[in-house]
Symmetry: C2
Subunit: 336 residues, 2 copies
């Protein structure tokens, strides 16, 4: 089966930040020509996209307004092989009548698993224990931890990833609390979570907080010193489990200076971040050196499965648009 052949139309597709081989094969089998190589910003500005019907980027390629305006009339669709579209000017694309499509579901399972991994690594001191063992120590007493069971988990944002994290947490015996002003309350209720109308009350109720919202002006430093100070440190089952923070969503939602201070004061017992205010994290960053902190370098979607899925999903969405259809993952529909 070849969509290209069916349509009698072969598109030229620029893949500038790499893509899984399977996904490229999918485009080629459909009859399209794929040119997979990075294009320098200067070349983009000089009109390098004029010969392409579609471009598929990740985060390295930036598509601001001037580049999109420069791209001529042939460009019909911009694909983002991933979730975040901060690197694409959605309005400029809409003005040029170009839908921007992404692949928001591809990494859901990977981020759910990393979040649970970080939560458990936090409360059981897994990276800290391992460091001790590599130094020839046997710090059994110092590594006493707590269970997730019987604790309140607060999820900031209750989209697909948070819902998956919530299900695992509930199976482990946690009580799940949620805060998401943009979701119909019935979603939180359907999963038997306690929905909070104010984020402060979520912090008051929960010893464990995991971040699952977008980054924007509203969520910038949403996890700050004041809110962390509201966390109870003691669980509903009476255990002094301390307070724990995990963020596998977007950098900048957690105030990292405040987090370091709270780790130092003991108000926060452990914390794990996969995303940071500045990435790559600059050398000498004190937060990543704190003994009760552990970090991973933005690997939420960095699995073989998520990358294969993201390729398939974005190839499919791009081909839908090339065929004249509307992809259900179009992110600038409201502007078109």
């Amino acid at each position: 089966m070849s969509f290209g052949a069916t349509l009698g139309y072969m598109a030229r597709i620029a893949v500038t930040d790499g893509m899984a081989n399977d996904a490229i094969a999918l485009l080629e089998k459909a009859g399209h020509e794929v040119v997979s190589q990075f294009i320098e910003p200067a070349d983009l500005r000089a009109g390098a996209l004029a010969d392409f019907d579609a471009i598929i980027v990740r985060s390295a390629t930036k598509l601001p307004a001037d580049i999109i305006q420069q791209s001529g009339r042939r460009l019909k669709v911009i694909g983002r092989a991933g979730v975040g579209v901060d690197n694409i000017d959605l309005q400029a694309a809409a003005d040029a009548n170009i839908p921007v499509v992404n692949a928001p579901r591809a990494s859901t399972q990977s981020v759910i698993e990393l979040t649970i991994g970080h939560l458990l690594a936090c409360i059981r001191h897994i990276p800290r224990s391992d460091r001790g063992m590599r130094e020839g120590k046997w710090e059994k007493k110092a590594m006493k931890g707590t269970e997730l069971q019987g604790k309140n988990l607060g999820l900031i944002g209750f989209g697909r990833i948070a819902q998956g994290v919530g299900s695992v947490a509930q199976l482990l015996g946690m009580e799940v609390h949620t805060y998401d002003p943009y979701l119909p309350p019935k979603v939180a209720k359907a999963q038997n979570t306690t929905l909070h109308k104010k984020v402060d009350s979520l912090f008051q109720a929960c010893t464990h907080i995991s971040v699952h919202c977008n980054y924007n002006q509203e969520t910038h430093h949403l996890v700050n010193a004041e809110r962390m100070s509201l966390m109870p440190g003691k669980s509903i089952d009476g255990i002094k489990c301390g307070n724990h923070i995990v963020n596998c969503a977007r950098g900048g939602i957690v105030d990292e200076d405040a987090l370091l201070e709270a780790l130092r004061s003991g108000q926060i017992t452990s914390a794990a971040l996969d995303v940071f205010e500045t990435e790559p994290v600059p050398k000498g960053n004190e937060l990543v050196q704190h003994p009760h902190f552990h970090g991973t370098p933005h690997i939420g979607a960095a699995t073989l499965e998520a990358q294969a899925r993201v390729g398939r999903d974005i190839a499919s969405a791009v081909m839908t648009v090339l065929k004249g259809g509307k992809a259900d993952t179009t992110v600038n529909s409201h502007l078109l």
Copy 2:
């Protein structure tokens, strides 16, 4: 309510390896006298237990035959605040008509959570990522991992802990395979797992193996070079996820030399142990230095919750025997 008062009988109870304060309070509230301090082996041999009705130990106090025989007629029950009873001569206790009771369920949840934590820390390189970040690196590409979803998890032993691990794994989308020659097959079937009659076929079917059996002659080095070489490295969903080994059960079940060799050859992609052939692990151990290995110092039961529960459970079991009853966690029933 006071059992001691009800019975008109106050027992003297030696607690030699420490116990949670709540549990000591429980015994005292029941009217018993608790003497909480370590007793040297020489003093035990000299008859230090002659004045006690009960002794509650963890693993530090050893109760071989000669000490039990020396302990006079007053001793009515030996409590092990935990699971393993390797430190107590069960036959000698039975010969002296002394039930040995333990607290096998107290740490179940803690070990389940640690096992899932280790599995996720393995496949997402959590400790290795954190080491890189502490060195000022941003190794996003090197830390590409895989998902648990879509993989076969092999559980060696399918008791309470393995059943709990299996439930979480199933929720995450794993297919669970089990091997347990001592369990009625209906237990494995009730949880929709694939029961293997031979352990070799479990290894052939699974890219992820977690150990949940006792240590004995039969299970010594059960995870060996030959069996690890049977693991497929590729999952049922076609992903080259490699092979992964976790052991939070007992040291000695995994052949550590063979594991190190398999990590070096790449047959095993990652491994995590909470228990080791020699504990504390001697300095200079090469396995704990391997980049794709991470370890914790036997902390499966090292949580506030498990320790509180173990205290309550063992206090309750000891008081049951002191009242003339039979504790359902008596481990030498078959010898009495």
